[in-house]
Every structure is written in C-alpha cells, then in structure tokens.
Symmetry: C2
Subunit: 209 residues, 2 copies
C-alpha cells in the first residue's frame, strides 16, 4: 500500500493526500476494476511506440498518418508534443504529415536540441529533398511562446544548410488576434503581432458585401 | 425620483432594481457628490465632439492625434469605436493616424454603411491620394469577428475605386494564435487562421539560437 501511494504521488498534480485517497479507492473497488487500470497502463506502454518516421506515438510502425497515401508527404507540420498533433488533427487544418519533436528547447530545464528528434527530422527532410525536384514545405507549428519560437528558430537553423535547401520552404504558423475576439480586450503583444503581421486585403466578388 | 429611475434604467446593464438602488444612493449622498455626477455627464457631452478629420471624440478640433506632426499622415488605422483607438494607443503599436467608423455593419440591428463615417473616410483618403505620389496605407483594424470582417470588406470595397487607388495599400490586421498561447487549447477557427496565415520564417544571425 505504501509503495502504491508513493507511485501515485509521482503523477503530476497528485499530492500525498490525493494519492492516499486514490489508493484506498483502488483497495475498495471490485478487483477487476483495479486490475483493469493496471493492465491499461501496462498495455499502453507495451503497445505504443514512437514511429520511426515522424516520432509520434502509435501502435503500428510506421504510424497510420505516415502510411496514409491521401496525405501530402512533402508537407511536414513540426510540433512539440503528440498532444499538439492531436489538436491539429481534430481541427483538420492540414493535409500533410507530422514531425513530433518530443518537446521544446528549454535551457533552464536542461532540455537541449539533442533531447529532441531534430536529427531524425533533418534526415527525413534531406531524403525528401534528394527524392525529386518538387518543393518541400516545413510548417513549424511549435507553440507561439518564447520557448516555442526559440525551438522554431533552432529547427530552421539546423535545416537551412541541407543539400537542395533552395527547394525547402519553411513557414511559421501565424500569430495575431484570435478569430472571434475583440481588439479592446487584447494584450499588447497580441496587438503588436496583429499589426506586424497585417496582410493585404483581398476583395473577391464572392466575399464583397 | 421616478424620472431618475427611468433614466438610469436606460443605461446598458442596469435593471430596474439596480436603477432604484442607484437613485436612492444619489438621494442619500452629500448634495455635491450627486451634482458632481450630473455636471460630469453634462460637461462630457458639451466638451467632447467628433473630430471632423478622423471621427474620434476629443475636446479639441482637430483632435490631438490628427494634429500630431510626429505621426505619419499617410498611414490610417481604421477602427470601429473610440475604445478600439484607446486600446491601440495604449499598446503603442502604430505611428499612423486613425479613422473611427463609429460602429460596425450589423444588418440585424439595422446598422448600415450610412450609419458609419465611411464617406468621411473616402473623402479623406481621396484627398491624401490627390496630394502626392507617395503610397497611402489603410490598416483596417475592425474586430476579427463576423461583423468586423464584413465591415472591413465594405470599407475596402468603397475605397477600391478612388482615383489613384493603385497607390492605396489596404491591409487587414493579422489573425492567428495569440502570442503566449498553446496549440493544444486553441479553437478550431484559430488553428485554421494560424495555418492559412503561415509566413516564411526569417533566420537572421541576430535571432538564431
């Protein structure tokens, strides 16, 4: 029991009192329910592995997204974590494939570029560039904060010297005012982004009022 | 007393019960305090007027921003309401001048383009274009929502046929992920904007990690 409380207490956001409460809950519920949780943890760790192509987690190798022939293999969305990939997939914003870095550069926490799958990405992009004359697009979708911006630059810096890099288009997702919001309640940084990133307005006969 | 309650009840967000409470408060406070509020309302309405150049509210004519020689007169930020101008001024994002439309197109509420200062803007831009050979930039900073986008298009459509319009650059402030936010918590519309608006990543020796 003491060992279970220690193990539960290691989970993020679980203090010792909550760990004790969870442990006594697991003692009182039907045996099957407690073992079901244990088995789910075990199976998740045994069955999910990192895809050797994109670094994402999947049961299959390569992962279903890397194998999907309906996706453009020459457009790669670079994200920090699998959860970012999940969010973008749910929004359905991109027909390309992904590359999961496995984190972001955070010098203060000791996370350096060798802790990310940056070399895997460099090999993958180099192979795509060697494959044919078409453009390769890398959409860098690390989070729009200090560490994410820093990581985006590190990715771009690592890849800019690859052979054939003149056919490599590296873009960064847009920052600005979130759609549906109001200028009067926006933070200064958001307004600065919205002004810096302003774009020519296109008037089409379809969109005109 | 009944008339005061009726008048207070016309303010936005003030129900009848609150109006009654405010009225009895104004009856019980020292006479000077009650009359101070009355005078403040009166003076505000007497002293603030719309600037004949930009449509914003100011005590002086033209308003201090329109008179400020340090601002680029050929860059105009178009906003819906004076409060948007205040937010942008506080953020200090632009060295240009403003044009206050006095609202946004809202057909369901009966707000049409003749209720906005669109013709004043058209005359102002036409005069700037006639003045000299330099470019005129119009930054359309209506709110990033359905009505604001619709209003932005109406502004652009009205101005696109002016003489010299080939020297008129009309831009829209950027939408996307708000700076400092996380992809995993963003709404679908925000992610779609962030992807559609993606921009080439610039690597400068200064910004490289």
């Amino acid at each position: 029991m003491a060992r279970l409380i220690t193990e539960l207490g290691r989970l993020p956001g679980i203090c010792e009192i909550t760990a004790e409460r969870l442990a006594s809950h697991l003692l009182l519920v039907p045996r099957d329910q407690a073992l079901g949780l244990a088995r789910a943890i075990q199976e998740m760790r045994e069955q999910l592995r990192r895809c050797s192509l994109c670094g994402g987690y999947a049961q299959e190798e390569p992962c279903p997204i890397c194998r999907d022939p309906g996706r453009d293999p020459r457009r790669i969305v670079v994200v920090e974590e699998p959860r970012d990939q999940v969010a973008l997939e749910e929004a359905g914003v991109c027909d390309g494939r992904y590359h999961v870095l496995g984190g972001r550069l955070a010098p203060l926490e000791g996370v350096e570029s060798r802790d990310l799958t940056l070399e895997l990405l460099a090999r993958r992009v180099a192979a795509l560039l060697a494959e044919g004359p078409e453009l390769v697009e890398l959409i860098i979708a690390t989070n729009p904060n200090l560490e994410g911006d820093h990581t985006a630059l590190a990715v771009a810096t690592r890849l800019q010297g690859l052979p054939g890099h003149e056919r490599l288009v590296m873009t960064r997702i847009a920052t600005g005012l979130p759609s549906g919001s109001a200028i009067e309640y926006a933070h200064r940084e958001v307004l600065v982004d919205a002004f810096r990133g302003r774009r020519p307005l296109e008037i089409t006969s379809e969109s005109a009022p």
